[in-house]
Every structure is written in structure tokens, then in C-alpha cells.
Symmetry: C2
Subunit: 311 residues, 2 copies
């Protein structure tokens, strides 16, 4: 059993942390705004894969209280990346590995620069989770977390996945972290983006409109092209198969309930959206690589402006 | 001097009708919601090209009261096209010509099918006009109306422009109505569209954002490609020069005050937007012609969804 620190206890951090606690790991949650509510009433997950009730989870107000852990799961919102270093550092010693369960491109490189020598992993969740009232999480659909390793070391990938062996979470592995990140963007960019520009629509509305569905398709193909150029420049032999990515994303989204992506909820509730991680970073990278991404560029400009008025 | 009926007395109809009245024409305005206010207080234009105060303009509640005219200026919102035939018919006899001072593609063909034998013209305004309180119009910037003729008859174009000879309105002429319509869309699609998807931003915000400006550029190029295919299919030798169109539109928009396009105001005020005329019609036409217009398609899907929730 591992000692695990969950930094950033939003819906994603709470859900997967609770699944690891359920599997017997010693899981510590760093809480801020919800500390008092969870101290009072515990942490409760309503899940299509079985509810979890942690009546007295191990919670802390500071990372120092948690101290060094075998695994630090960083599930901060990408907009809080500035705080990540200080929040993570007290939980890191020579035994520690870090798993970034976040959206975005370049997160792992950033973590590696802050914590040299610490193994860095990515966890790419494909799941529908929303936060309810404090301490309550609704897990609506899906749930796999793809495990990847910065360095793409096969043994390390296995070690990263092994932590989840007894947890009720599917953990497929990705041999290329970079490919997995671009593939994840192939969902987040169109569906987080077009649900926001639609004024706060759900994923089924995007899927049900011929032009928006075609735009999602086109965005995925642009991202695959940029991702493949990025992989090539990194000397990786991994490649994204655009047809396969589009088919897989569309199939999964078509069977998904009418879903409210996190960015769309942030938009409707006037909170800061993960604009840099999901939109600006891939656009910058595509531009550096000389890959034309006109749909991504337009969508990024649109979201940027909407974020400005919301912020 | 001509007897002129202005059907659809929004900002555009009132402004240009007042300019023609100022030049000495006998101008009759068909008014509905603003009839009482204008009967009481007149029609007042605050204009960068000189104010106009019509204290007792010729106004009517029905087209029948106006009767046959030399010119019918149809300045209805494109969303009211269903009513256009009944509103125009009482003003048409064998002496009448019709000028469509409206947004959209295919408007003139529609009018020709309703009024066979009647000369049909297009007036393509490039102007910044907003409605104030009832009977008050604010003309902020620009003002030319490009005159074109359905049939592209040179003598007719000259006759159409001659009506405006003494009016304080520049009337350049277009040798190809179809080219002029597509060229006008090159402004309306990006600027009416992107100001709406921005949540109600002004044109200067689009111009000031690198990605949105690039999207406007890309949209114009898609529209030029579709327009040129349309011209070719119609056997016209006219062509749009995309570079020239982009440069001209960008230059004009850059020097424009922070402008609120009509569609953006409609969106913010929860009124029906001219979605079919400005977005759906060119998208359908491009699709029929087999011209790829991914940015137009995405923007159309976005506006369509926003229009649904507004409507």
C-alpha cells in the first residue's frame, strides 16, 4: 500500500483519491475551501461504478501536514499551476513519484523542471465527473485514467499503473506521454471549447449539430497534425492516427450522457477557464511547429475573449 | 424627382430614406411599431455627414396607403423576408423598380420570382448605423451604398444610381450583383459573426485579437472562393480578388469606431438574428458548389446554436 497525497481536491482529485482509498491506500487530501465541510460530513462519491462514502478521510489544510508521500497526485486546475510547486514540494522526498492528473500540454515538463530526479507521470482521465455541494462528487460516466511516464520508460509505466491494481479504475497505459496528451486534447479542445462558445451547451448539442460535429472532427485532425509534428520533433516514433482518433472520440461522445465539460461549467459560473492549458498551449506549439490550425486558432481567439469578459 | 416607398423602416431604411427625402424625393415610410412616435415627433438622424430632421415625414401604417411608387426600397430585416411580398406588392405597378437594401444571398432572385418584369436592384450599404429611441437614428461612420442590378445591365445600373445623384450618399456601382453580394458577406460573416460568438463584443475587439483577426481573414478567403465558384457557375466573368478584398475590409474596419454590428445587437437584445441570410445561405451555396469552408461552417454552427437559445 502506498502513501498518497492528493493535491487539488476538485471533482477529479476527490474521485480518484477516493477510489485509491477504497482500494486500501493511505490517501491524504489537501483541502482548502471545502475543509470544514469534509471534516464535518466526510467525502461522498455517487458513482455509476459504485458509491464511496469516506466518513473520516485523512484531510489537511497544508501540504506540510501531509508530509512526504510515495505518490503525489497533482489534480489542480491548470489555472492554479503557479501554486503547484509550493503545494507539492512539502510532499516530495527521494521516494516520491508525481502523477499529473490535469489538463494541458507541457505540465509534466514544468513539474520535472521543479522536481529534478523525481519520476513524473501523467494520468489522462476520460471521465464525466462534476462537483456537487462541498464533499459531494457526482461521477456520471466513464472513468479510465491512461497512465503515461515522462521519458516513456516501460518499467516505470508499469509501476505507475500497478498502484491502481486494486482500485475500481481502469488504467490503460500509453507508451508515449506526448501522444497521449495530444490525443486527450482531441477531446478537450472541441468539446470544452464548443460547449463554451455555444453559450453553455452540453456535449450532445455539439454532436447533434452537423456543422459543430464537423468542426469537432476538423479540430481533432488539426490537433493530430500538430501532435504528429511535435512527436517527430521530439524524435518519437509514436504517431496519432487521425481517423482512429476521430472515430474513437466521436463514438465515446455519442454514447455519453448530455455532459457539461468542466470548462463550460467554469464559463457559466464566471470562474477562470483552463484556457492556456487546453487552447493556447497547443496553438502556440502548432505555430512553433509551422502546422496550420485555423479552426483551433479561431476557437482559441473566441474562448480567450469570452474568458476576458468572464474574468 | 421620384416617388419612393421605404418598406422596413429600421435604422438603414430610415437613414437612407431620409437622405433621399433631403435630396427632394417624395419618400414614404412604412412604419409599424414606431408609427405613433414618428407621427408625434418626426424622424431625426444624427449623422457624421450632417443631421437631418424630418418633422413631418410622409408615413403610413400599410403599404396600400402608400400605393404605387417609382422605387420600392426594401430595407426589411432578412428574417422578415416572409412578409416582404405582401408588404411590397401594393407599391408595385408597371413603373416600379425595387431596390433590396438588405443583407443576404439570393434576396434579389426571390424578389424577381415574386415580381416578374419588375427591375430588381441591390443596394449594399457599408455603413455604421444604429437605432436610438423611436424616430431617432445614429449614423456613426461610413455610408456608401453600392448599387447593383439583377441582370447586371449597365444602363439599368446607371438608372439605379441616378436616383441618388442629389443625395448626400456615395453610390459606387457594381458591375456584378453576385460578386457584390459575396463581397458584402466578406464583411458581415466575420464581423457580425465573431462579435456575437465573443458574447457581444465590438468590431475593434475582433481586430485587436491576433487569432480573431486571422479568423476574419480566413473567413473572407473562404467566402471569396465560394463566391468565385458561384460566379463561374453563373457564367459570369467577374471574380473576387481575395487579397484585395481582405485588405480593403481590414483597412476599413481598422479605422472604424468600436462598432456594434446589427446581428450582435440583435443577439444581446434577444431578437432574432439574420442567421439564414448571412451564414446559412452562403454555407449552403458553398456546399452545393463543393467549396470547402470549414471556418464558415464552424461559425455558422456556433451562431445557429446561440440563435436557438436566444430565440
Amino acid at each position: 500500500m502506498s502513501r498518497i497525497a492528493v493535491i487539488g481536491a476538485g471533482a477529479v482529485g476527490c474521485y480518484y483519491g477516493a477510489r485509491l482509498a477504497e482500494a486500501g491506500h493511505e490517501v491524504h487530501f489537501l483541502l482548502r475551501s471545502t475543509y470544514d465541510a469534509v471534516a464535518e460530513s466526510g467525502l461522498h462519491i455517487e458513482s455509476v461504478d459504485g458509491d464511496i462514502d469516506l466518513d473520516a478521510p485523512a484531510i489537511a489544510r497544508t501540504s506540510r501536514e501531509i508530509g512526504a508521500a510515495d505518490w503525489v497526485i497533482c489534480a489542480l486546475k491548470a489555472t492554479a499551476m503557479d501554486e503547484a510547486r509550493d503545494l507539492i514540494a512539502p510532499c516530495v522526498d527521494e521516494r516520491t513519484s508525481i502523477l499529473a492528473l490535469m489538463n494541458g500540454l507541457g505540465i509534466e515538463d514544468q513539474l520535472a523542471s521543479w522536481f529534478p530526479g523525481t519520476p513524473i507521470f501523467a494520468g489522462l482521465g476520460f471521465t464525466c465527473i462534476n462537483r456537487g455541494e462541498a464533499g459531494r462528487i457526482h461521477h456520471i460516466d466513464y472513468g479510465p485514467v491512461t497512465i503515461a511516464h515522462l521519458g516513456d520508460d516501460e518499467a516505470e509505466i508499469g509501476r505507475g499503473a500497478a498502484v491502481w491494481a486494486d482500485a475500481k479504475v481502469e488504467v490503460p497505459t500509453a507508451s508515449s506521454l506526448l501522444a497521449a496528451r495530444w490525443q486527450k486534447l482531441c477531446w478537450n479542445v472541441p468539446f470544452n471549447g464548443l460547449t463554451v462558445t455555444g453559450g453553455g451547451i452540453t456535449t450532445d448539442v455539439v454532436m447533434g449539430d452537423g456543422e459543430l460535429r464537423a468542426a469537432a472532427d476538423g479540430l481533432m485532425r488539426e490537433l493530430c497534425a500538430a501532435g504528429n509534428a511535435d512527436l517527430e520533433e521530439h524524435g518519437s516514433s509514436a504517431r496519432l492516427d487521425a481517423d482512429a482518433v476521430v472515430e474513437s472520440m466521436m463514438t465515446r461522445t455519442a454514447t455519453m450522457a448530455a455532459y457539461r465539460p468542466s470548462t463550460m461549467i467554469d464559463f457559466l459560473e464566471g470562474r477562470e477557464m483552463e484556457i492556456d492549458a487546453i487552447f493556447e498551449a497547443p496553438l502556440r506549439r502548432a505555430s512553433e511547429l509551422g502546422v496550420s490550425t485555423p479552426l483551433l486558432a479561431m476557437l482559441t481567439g473566441q474562448i480567450r475573449i469570452l474568458g476576458r469578459s468572464a474574468g
